[in-house]
Amino acid sequence: MNREEIKVELLKIIDPYIDEKEVTTSISEQSDLINDLNINSAHLVDIVLDIEEKFDIMIEDDFISKMDTVGNSLDIIEEKLQG
């Protein structure tokens, strides 16, 4: 999968956790999951579980502190898929 394909799948994963759907029209790699997309922090672990299931990868345990933006989350998934 290339980065764009991973991004499409990642956005599908995070979509259910976004209450106010109007923010989805302006999602970029710089979008902060909590501050820009208003995802409740209680769902960060849910997103990790969804990513692991969708991409069939095992995320490092310190992922939560690194998954601040869409782009940084993509970096980690991309690295895992290439690894």
């Binding site: 259910p16 106010e20 209680a42 849910d46 990790v48 310190d62 939560i64 502190s65």
Partner: protein
């Protein structure tokens, strides 16, 4: 300093927590029981908020010792307690010398929980203290009651919202 966090377990988007999820949030010095993911999470979030920092929340960097019998916890100079109801687990954290006031409410609006909880705080302060408050942010972008120069911590999840302030 005070911090509050809550989780509404009725949220259908919450997946079951398992042995896999604990390592995502745990610190080597944590003391808790295996099935206490949400106690651990809410305690860490509440403690983090009590730090009043604009750094990123990293649960793995916050050690928590939970006493499940007393429903209390502590982390360094921060102490706290849990309030648990059928669907809601709430943690309130504070420095030893601070006696917090906290309230949780069921949300009245589907959206706009930020305004909702601020309105509840304003109503509480008017009712209890006779204050007409304005809520703003401090130099770190964290919430504060401007008129009283009093820190405030907010929380919301799914159907519930809450706030905590130091008791003056």
């Amino acid at each position: 300093m005070v911090g509050i966090d809550l989780v509404d377990l009725s949220d259908p988007n919450l997946k079951a927590r398992s042995d896999r999820t604990i390592p995502l949030i745990s610190h080597p010095e944590d003391v808790f029981e295996k099935n206490q993911f949400w106690l651990l999470w809410t305690a860490k979030e509440a403690i983090f908020k009590s730090y009043r920092t604009n750094r990123r929340f990293d649960p793995k960097q916050i050690p928590v010792l939970i006493d499940p019998n007393a429903l209390t916890f502590h982390s360094g100079k921060i102490m706290g307690k849990f309030v648990i109801s059928e669907n809601v687990i709430m943690a309130i954290a504070h420095h030893r010398e601070v006696n917090p006031i906290f309230k949780i409410y069921r949300r009245r609006l589907k959206f706009g929980e930020s305004d909702d909880v601020r309105n509840q705080l304003a109503a509480h302060c008017k009712r209890e203290f006779g204050w007409d408050i304005t809520i703003g942010i401090d130099a770190d972008g964290l919430p504060i009651i401007l008129s009283q120069n009093l820190i405030v911590s907010f929380t919301h999840h799914h159907n519930y919202i809450g706030f905590a302030i130091p008791n003056i």
